[in-house]
Symmetry: C2
Subunit: 217 residues, 2 copies
């Protein structure tokens, strides 16, 4: 058995489980996003802001993926939202079976939005379908404007790009225009939001978009 | 053949090649570092600053690892330093065989320092020995102070931590003390440098340390 065969079998099994998760979400009219980025781009901060702005508009649950610690789940739990922490113990991405198992611990009846916060990694999570409706990739302005070109798979597979840490832009050499241009050169159909989790800029637009997606289900 | 067996065989083969690279470096009295971090923490900027400050003190060569593009190699080439670009075409880390092959394209006679800039990924490169003397992990202040706790393997296997983007600290909620404390709780023997590639802060200390390492060979 070659390594490629093993990898293909893992991916086939993953896709099968992801399909069953997607069907579960559809049956319950749940919109699900798979939130991916480098470490420290602001995934958990965006989830916190989304909860703050939207918790009276629709009902959410969060699945937190981390290599180690339950620090992120603690932050979400403090906001009164159902949350399950997956600790991968070294693994570099979430897989569908972990999401399926986590969903056993959430009462999804009445939930409108499930946010799956993936492990901080701009490479490996691109290859694994978790049963989400849309992959949402965050890139922070501090990471520079060339990331879409250097890590194209993630930007190709995402349907939404959130450019975060807008508040730091005046202190950086990076160009917002260049970042957008590079992202759209990889994936011209990307929907782009520009946010700051410090100032709250752009969070309303993001939450309105989520609300519209949920209403369309 | 199980997946674990395949993985172990890959790692054994990698370690074997890494050992031969390490012996090659030792024969030529070359100090080699494996530079690892999240995407956008400033690996290439640190290499540029190191070249600017040190190119009259010792002779360098650079191996650039990227998932896609040769943008980083172009930046180094522009500074007149021998550089080889490895494009992994989707793979999330460098392996020793890629470094061995790259070294065929560098005249290492007379080189004092080889910098291997790994793929931007705080998870996967931790597991792969590339024949370096020391793993140097960069974390930027903008990534928050909890990263050593959340991605411990990399901080455990590195011997040096560079805290970069010091210039942005006044605009952030992150605590430098907390970041250092978290890093040392994972690996108490970490040597820590604090730098800004924008202002040049801390680059002299880093270069002096490199010079000392080279002189000790």
């Amino acid at each position: 058995m070659s390594i490629l065969t093993v990898e293909r079998k893992i991916l086939e099994k993953n896709d099968e489980i992801a399909t069953s998760i997607r069907e579960l979400f559809q049956r319950h009219k749940i919109f699900a996003i798979n939130l991916v980025s480098s470490p420290g781009s602001g995934k958990t901060s965006l989830v916190e802001q989304t909860i703050a702005k939207c918790k009276n508009k629709f009902r959410m649950a969060v699945i937190e993926g981390d290599v180690q610690t339950d620090l992120d789940a603690q932050r979400i739990h403090a906001l009164g939202i159902p949350v399950v922490q997956i600790v991968t113990h070294g693994a570099c991405h979430l897989e569908a079976n972990l999401v399926r198992d986590s969903l056993q611990n959430i009462n999804i009846a009445g939930i409108d939005l499930v946010i799956i916060e993936n492990v901080g990694n701009l490479v490996c999570p691109a290859g694994y379908d978790l049963g989400e409706d849309q992959k949402v990739v965050i890139v922070s302005t501090t990471e520079g404007d060339d990331k879409p070109l250097k890590y194209p798979a993630m930007f190709r597979r995402a349907s939404v790009l959130i450019i975060n840490k807008l508040d730091l832009l005046p202190h950086l050499n990076a160009s917002l225009e260049e970042l957008e241009k590079n992202a759209l050169s990889i994936n011209p159909s990307l929907k782009i939001f520009k946010t700051s989790c410090q100032t709250g800029e752009g969070i309303n637009e993001w939450c309105n978009w989520l609300e519209l997606r949920i209403k369309k289900l």
